[in-house]
Point group: C2
Chain length 237, copies 2
C-alpha cells in the first residue's frame, strides 16, 4: 500500500484507529484498571507520545467506546424508521447492533453499559448533537409506533424508552454475571435480555380493553405501588 | 414501663432493635461510608461495646436491612398466594411491601438494592432457608400464575421473575437518580418502576395467538438478537 502518498490526515486517522483498537482489545483482556499503556502501544506499534496525543487518558478510550456503541444503536433506529419497519423489528435490530458494537462481554463492557445506564446526562454531553443517547433514539422509534398504532398511546415515549433501555441493560448484566459465575447451570428458555425486550414490547401493545378485569387489577396494583412511598399507605386487599 | 421486670432476653432484643434503627437512620442521613458509629451509639443510648456486640461491622447492619427488605417482599408473596389473589395484585403488593420496608431513598437504599440485584447468590447465603431472595419468591408467584392461566407458560418462571426483579430495581435506581438530579424536570405519566411492572405483567399474559403477525415479527427480532453475539450475525431485513 502506498502509505507514503497518503495525505497526512488519512494517516492520522488510520493511526488513531489502530491505537483505539489496540486499547479496546487490551481493556477487554485485562479490564480498564489493570490494562497497561505499555502493552497497548506495543500492540499498536506506536510511541507513548502518540497514544497520549489521541487519548489523553484511559477514560477517553472508554468514552469513545460508549460513543461507538450508542452511535450503532441510534443508527439502527434511524435506518429502521427510514425503512418504515415495525416497532418490534426496529427495536430488535437496534439492540442487536448495540450488542455487536459494544466491547466483548467482560468488565470493560460492563463499564460501558454502566455508563450508559447510570450517567445518561454525562453521556449526552459527550455524544453531542449527532449521536442521541439510546433512550432518546428509542423514544423516537416508540413515538413513531404510537402514531402508527403499534404502541399504546398514553405514556410519554421517553418513559417507555427509559424502561426498555434500563431493563435490557440490567438483564444483560445479570445474564453476563450468571454466565461468569463458576458452576452456573445454564437455564432453558430465552436469554434474559431477549425475554425482557419481548415482554416489554408485548406489554406496550395497544390491545388491553378498558374493561378488562386484569387491567382494572393492574391499575389498583399500580396505585398501591405509588402510595407505597408513604409509610402507612394503603394495601391492595 | 416496668423494664426491670423484663426477662433478660426481651431486653436484649429491644436494645438490638434500638441500635439497628439508630444505625439505619444514620446510614440514611449520611450514607454507609460517612456514618459515624459515635453518632449511632449516642442516638441509641448505648455504649460502643453494645453496638459491636450486636453488629461486628457496618456491613452487618446493611445485610440486616437487606434481609428485612427481602423478608417483606417474600411475606407479601406468600400472603397473596395463600389468599388466592391474582398475579398482578400479588406482584403489586410485593413491590409495595419491598418499597415500604427498604430504607428511605438515597445512597443507603441504593446500596441495598444493588446488593439484591447484583449479588443474589451472596444474599441467598445470608438469607438462609426462611427468607427466599426476591427472584425465588416471585418465581413461585409466577409459577402459580402459569398454573392458573394468568401468566403465559413456555418460559421458566425463574427467568420471568429475574426479569421482573432486575428491571424494576433498575427502573427504581434511574427514577431516584432523576429525582436527585438538580433541575430534573418532572415527567408526566407513571413513575418508571410502576410502568416497568405494568408493561412486564401485560407482556406475560397468555394472550398472543400463534399466528399474530406481531408475534412472528417479535420472534424474528428475538432470533436476530440472539445471533448478535456473533460479529457478523444476520440482520432482520
Amino acid at each position: 500500500m502506498p502509505t507514503a502518498r497518503r495525505p497526512r490526515q488519512a494517516r492520522a486517522i488510520e493511526t488513531r484507529r489502530r491505537v483505539y483498537e489496540a486499547a479496546v482489545a487490551e481493556f477487554e483482556r485485562s479490564g480498564v484498571e489493570a490494562a497497561r499503556i505499555e502493552d497497548i502501544v506495543t500492540a499498536a506499534g506506536v510511541s507513548w507520545g502518540t497514544f497520549f496525543t489521541y487519548f489523553p487518558s484511559k477514560d477517553d478510550v472508554v468514552l469513545e467506546a460508549a460513543i461507538v456503541t450508542c452511535a450503532a444503536f441510534a443508527d439502527a433506529c434511524r435506518k429502521g424508521l427510514a425503512a418504515g419497519s415495525g416497532t418490534g423489528v426496529i427495536v430488535g435490530n437496534a439492540f442487536a447492533a448495540l450488542r455487536r458494537a459494544a466491547p466483548a462481554p467482560g468488565p470493560f463492557r460492563d463499564a460501558i453499559m454502566r455508563g450508559i445506564a447510570n450517567q445518561p446526562e454525562r453521556l449526552s454531553d459527550h455524544l453531542g448533537e449527532d449521536v442521541p443517547n439510546p433512550v432518546l433514539a428509542l423514544a423516537e422509534v416508540l413515538e413513531a409506533g404510537q402514531r402508527r398504532g403499534d404502541v399504546a398511546a398514553g405514556e410519554p415515549p421517553e418513559s417507555l424508552a427509559a424502561v426498555l433501555v434500563h431493563a435490557t441493560i440490567a438483564a444483560g448484566r445479570r445474564e453476563a454475571a450468571m454466565e461468569r459465575a463458576a458452576g452456573a447451570t445454564q437455564r432453558s428458555g430465552l436469554p434474559l435480555t431477549v425475554l425482557t425486550i419481548k415482554l416489554l414490547l408485548r406489554g406496550m401493545r395497544p390491545d388491553p380493553e378498558p374493561g378488562d378485569p386484569r387491567e382494572v387489577a393492574l391499575e389498583r396494583a399500580a396505585a398501591a405501588l405509588r402510595d407505597a412511598a408513604e409509610p402507612d399507605g394503603p394495601r391492595i386487599p
